[in-house]
């Protein structure tokens, strides 16, 4: 069985549904506390779920990024194991420098949303599409449009390195972008003002992914905002976002 560690930092609040998503695609997930004494070598992959770890003190993700456990996760990532950060987990990966991970430093920020209509924390359903080549998390995606919710106050990928985004595009590190219902990537489809509509970025190797939308909340058809459920079995069929976890499973040898 492929074993996944879902990390609970103080303040994380999506660990249960994230574990459920991992288990539902045939992996076996354990929820590990930040102060766990377990050996991470036991695990084949890692997920940093959403929440408000360490109360978002200073800035979302900063304190967790400095947590001793993150050093260990970095080492595991270096071994090529998949690491998925969702929402607050995404912010942690960016603050830890694992994303974009080109230099050993914090190279980007996930800044407060800019949205002309809703200020501050914003929970809504959006559409994203895969724009990257194959990595640990998008092996199943072609041009699919994925229905998925966001729920954050700080989800805007930014950097002061003007060359960076171009470099990321070149390296195929930009994995998901916000799009409209036709798959067009435009400003109207961008819920938080993220640079180039970026919703998810991987490291260069493709085994670490930081994404703001929540695939574990768009996992079954019953979750989706727009849906027709023929029966309960149909309601429990996997939705598009579940492929992120399936891809992770396939990536683990």
């Amino acid at each position: 069985m492929k074993k996944i560690a879902v990390i609970y930092f103080p303040g994380t609040n999506c660990e249960n549904e994230t574990k459920l998503a991992c288990d539902a695609v045939g992996m076996q997930a354990d929820i590990l506390r930040w102060n766990t004494k377990k050996d991470l070598d036991e695990y084949d992959g890692f997920v940093l779920p959403g929440g408000w770890s360490y109360e978002d003190r200073i800035r979302a993700g900063v304190i967790s990024a400095k947590d001793p456990l993150m050093q260990k996760i970095k080492e595991q990532a270096k071994k090529g194991k998949p690491v998925l950060g969702i929402c607050n987990g995404c912010q942690i990966l960016v603050e830890a420098g694992l994303i974009p991970g080109l230099k050993d430093k914090v190279h980007m920020a996930v800044a407060p949303n800019i949205n002309p209509v809703v200020s501050g924390y914003y929970c809504t359903w959006v559409k994203i599409k895969n724009v990257g080549k194959k990595n640990a998390f998008n092996a199943f995606y072609e041009e699919d449009i994925i229905d998925i919710p966001i729920a954050h106050g700080e989800g805007r990928f930014v950097t002061n390195d003007v060359q960076l985004v171009e470099g990321l595009e070149k390296n195929d590190q930009i994995v998901f972008k916000y799009c409209d219902e036709n798959g067009t990537i435009n400003a109207a489809a961008n819920p938080n003002g993220s640079t180039a509509n970026i919703a998810g970025i991987s490291n260069k190797k493709g085994n670490v992914l930081a994404m703001m939308p929540h695939p574990e909340r768009a996992f079954f058809k019953k979750h989706l905002k727009e849906k027709t459920m023929n029966n309960f079995e149909d309601a429990m069929s996997l939705a598009a976002a579940a492929k992120i976890f399936e891809s992770m499973r396939e990536y683990i040898r």
């Binding site: 102060n35 809504t124 029966n231």
Partner: protein, 773 residues
């Protein structure tokens, strides 16, 4: 009574001196009440005892005015696992893989604090309510928030807008980090709430019947440890219960701030997980325990209730309680309402396990300064409540005397409502439709819900605003779904509190039925004025009569019995210093159950060329309606519920949805028929694209009354192939029109009116936002 080691306070004083003593100590006693103390204790009280009885005898803790009246409410039935006895009631939900599952449900108010410090007040409202549900052993899965604010365009508009925005932020600021989704709620604006907003909270939790944890000491608990876990005790919220039972004077706003607790959702998040870890071991090893949240009355209330309910006493050393402030007087430590705390009672040999889970595994002391689990005392065989401080006994009273509280028979005198039906000239219909849609009560609350995390925990199937009730699938892999709605129209209550209560019950049931769920349990939060004033107390008694009557007559589906109340709360003294009471507000919440959550439907029109049915006769019942409000009238004719018809209609809707004969459904309420159809076109996100044409020539009423009467009913969309079946199930229903096109067309008396989706959307999505700006 027991011996004590410190000086007592002489109460053998004149009324004037007693009154001065009450004021000086910030107590809420009446003169008559404080005079009872020496009789009960057999001596004068210590300062700590004085505060203990003061807290327990407050209206908030003792229900002294309401207890007898509330007995009318039905609380039993086949869907009740636990009635309104402990911190939360529990309704039987479903059986799944050999286990019986219940839904724990609690419903409370946090009105006074929210008026004084709205962000913190609303946040701690959520915080306290979720603790009630957790402490039953349940996993907290959902919240609902019925809110009432003042007139956003009236003389207090700035304060009202501030309070409304801050309350919404406070709910988001607590619920989001904690990770509890908001699944329903409503917002009304009315000037009667100018000086007293109402912030009600409903919390749901999932629990297996065999895993319920009780808030009383177990059998044979003598010698068990009493453990306090969570935030270090400080002076915050001291006097909170007394404060909840006083009339707010705007001039005292600053001095009242100290009575509001300080919320910490971050610590609560960790506490919840640590507590769940304790639950797990308690269940695995079958350890006898008692567990209770610390809310009103703090440590004193939790420890006395845990022990007295099982016929024990307690011996507590105040010096062992972890505190974050030096030199707090002991009565403050025992009665303050510091947030994020719980009490455990457990066998001594289990104590190290509890301490390890909180203090080491979840490392509370590192997570939040001063937070931890501490053993503070033991359960005693004698019924005395003993508190020790610096080696001296400072309280030694009969624990049953403390928890028993007091009771009043309040005088009740109904005020005669003298309002009349207005005569209003027929309006410009199109213009009036848009005005109704943009009225803040009717307008979309999307701007509010977008600040709430509706998705966390991954249980959502239908979100707040998408339908008349929120729907969740709470058990992984199990088809059973739950639905939740909360209702109470304040303007109906200004005319007739009893009818308002009946309407609240009926509407909450209609809302739950509109998604396809069977109403299985109710809770109530009764927000009223001053019970010492006979006219205001009569509003309360009338409303309770209405609740009892409506739930008894609108039977639990499949039975001849009532839909039971499994929990509730009373909030009195929602009265301004000028003597103005809030509109009587018997807010009810209705919990519904779907056997198969995949059959749940929203209100949004699903396709073109289907048929729209109307069930529920349009009547000249616009008293309290939005239409009258737009003309500055209250009117007189509040909608009346015909119980037999209503019951049949609600149950037929549920059956038709279960048989998959209905594509979308919406109940008729605020704004009337026109609003119902418009909202079905727009859908929860106001992104609907399918229009409708309807014919309104079915009634002899003036067109304005057909469009805007809020008489009970439903509009629902049916595939043309199912029309014969629907006609059979609803002999009284009529075809209202059909779906299609991209606008709303209505025909009446040879006239045609047309509203484009765009103009309706603009009106409907702007009204609420503008009210808050």
């Amino acid at each position: 009574m027991g011996d004590i080691d410190i000086n007592t306070i002489n109460l053998d004083l004149s009324d004037k001196e007693l009154s001065a003593l009450i004021k000086e100590n910030g107590l809420g006693f009446s003169i008559e009440e404080i005079k009872k103390l020496p009789k009960i204790l057999g001596r004068d009280p210590t300062i700590t005892e004085l505060h203990i009885f003061n807290t327990q005898w407050s209206e908030h803790s003792s229900y002294k005015s309401s207890k007898d009246i509330l007995k009318q409410l039905p609380t039993e039935g086949p869907t009740v696992i636990l009635g309104p006895k402990e911190d939360a009631g529990i309704a039987l939900f479903t059986e799944w893989q050999g286990d019986k599952y219940g839904i724990a449900m609690s419903h409370e108010s946090h009105n006074h604090p929210s008026q004084v410090i709205p962000f913190e007040g609303a946040a701690t409202g959520i915080g306290g309510n979720v603790r009630d549900v957790l402490c039953m052993g349940a996993r907290v899965i959902a919240c609902g928030d019925p809110l009432r604010f003042g007139n956003p365009f009236g003389k207090n508009k700035n304060r009202t807008k501030y309070i409304a925005s801050q309350v919404i932020e406070g709910i988001a600021g607590y619920g989001n980090p904690l990770g509890v989704p908001v699944i329903c709620g409503d917002v009304y604006f009315n000037e009667s709430f100018d000086d007293n907003c109402l912030v009600n909270v409903i919390t749901l939790g999932l629990i297996k019947e065999k895993e319920i944890i009780h808030s009383h000491a177990p059998k044979d608990a003598e010698g068990f440890d009493i453990i306090i876990v969570g935030k270090a005790t400080d002076n915050s919220g001291f006097g909170g219960t007394t404060f909840a039972s006083v009339i707010l004077d705007e001039d005292d706003r600053e001095s009242n701030r100290g009575a509001v607790q300080v919320p910490d959702p971050f610590l609560k998040n960790v506490l919840f997980r640590a507590t769940e870890a304790v639950f797990k071991i308690v269940r695995e090893k079958n350890i006898p325990v008692g567990f209770k949240d610390m809310g009103a009355g703090g440590i004193m209330c939790a420890t006395t209730e845990l022990t007295s309910s099982a016929c024990f006493g307690a011996d507590i050393d105040i010096d062992k309680i972890h505190v974050s402030m030096h030199n707090l007087p002991p009565y403050m430590i025992t009665c303050s309402e510091t947030q994020e705390r719980f009490t455990w009672i457990c066998p001594k040999d289990f104590t190290p396990t509890i301490l390890k889970i909180y203090n080491e595994d979840f490392d509370l002391p590192s997570v939040s300064e001063g937070a931890k689990a501490s053993v503070v005392g033991t359960v005693t065989k004698e019924n005395n409540y003993v508190l020790r401080h610096k080696g001296k006994i400072i309280c030694n009273a009969d624990v049953n005397q403390i928890t028993q509280g007091i009771k009043y028979k309040r005088e009740s005198r109904q005020k005669k409502y003298t309002g009349k039906e207005p005569s209003i000239a027929e309006p410009d219909y199109k213009d009036m439709c848009l005005k109704v849609l943009s009225h803040p009560t009717v307008a979309s609350k999307l701007a509010c819900y977008k600040h709430y995390d509706t998705e966390v925990q991954g249980l959502a199937v239908i979100r707040a605003g998408e339908a008349d009730a929120g729907v969740q699938a709470p058990i992984d892999g199990c088809p059973a779904g739950l639905a939740l709605s909360a209702d109470a129209n304040p303007r109906y209550a200004l005319i007739d509190p009893k009818q308002a209560a009946i309407n609240a019950v009926a509407e909450s049931m209609r809302n739950v039925a509109a998604v396809g769920a069977v109403p299985i349990a109710m809770t109530d939060c009764l927000n009223f004025g001053n019970p010492e004033k006979p006219e205001q107390f009569a509003e309360f008694t009338e409303a309770v009569k209405g609740l009892a009557e409506a739930t008894s007559r609108l039977h639990l589906k499949g039975t001849q019995g009532p839909v039971p109340f499994i929990g509730g709360n009373v909030s009195f003294y929602n009265e301004s210093a000028a003597g103005k009471s809030v509109a009587p507000s018997p807010v009810v919440a209705c919990l519904g159950k779907l056997e198969d959550v995949s059959k749940a439907i929203t209100m949004k029109i699903k396709k073109e060329n289907s048929t729209l049915f109307l069930v529920g006769e349009r009547k000249d019942e616009l008293g309290g309606s939005v239409y009258y409000e737009l003309h500055d009238h209250l009117g007189k004719n509040v909608p009346e519920i015909d119980y037999e018809k209503e019951k049949k209609m609600i149950h037929s809707i549920i059956d038709a949805i279960e048989k998959k004969l209905i594509l979308s459904c919406h109940d008729i309420s605020d704004g009337g028929l026109l609003t119902t159809v418009a909202e079905m076109m727009l859908g929860g996100e106001a992104d609907g694209k399918i229009g409708a044409s309807i014919n309104l020539d079915f009634s002899s009423l003036p067109l304005s009354k057909i469009l805007f009467s809020e008489s009970s009913g439903f509009v629902f969309e049916v595939d043309n192939g199912h029309i014969p079946k629907i006609k059979k199930m609803f002999p009284d229903a009529m075809i209202l029109g059909e779906t299609g096109g991209s606008d709303l067309r209505f025909t009446a008396k040879d006239k045609q009116f047309r509203l484009s989706i765009e103009e309706m959307k603009k009106a409907w999505t702007s009204g609420f936002t503008e009210a808050l700006q």
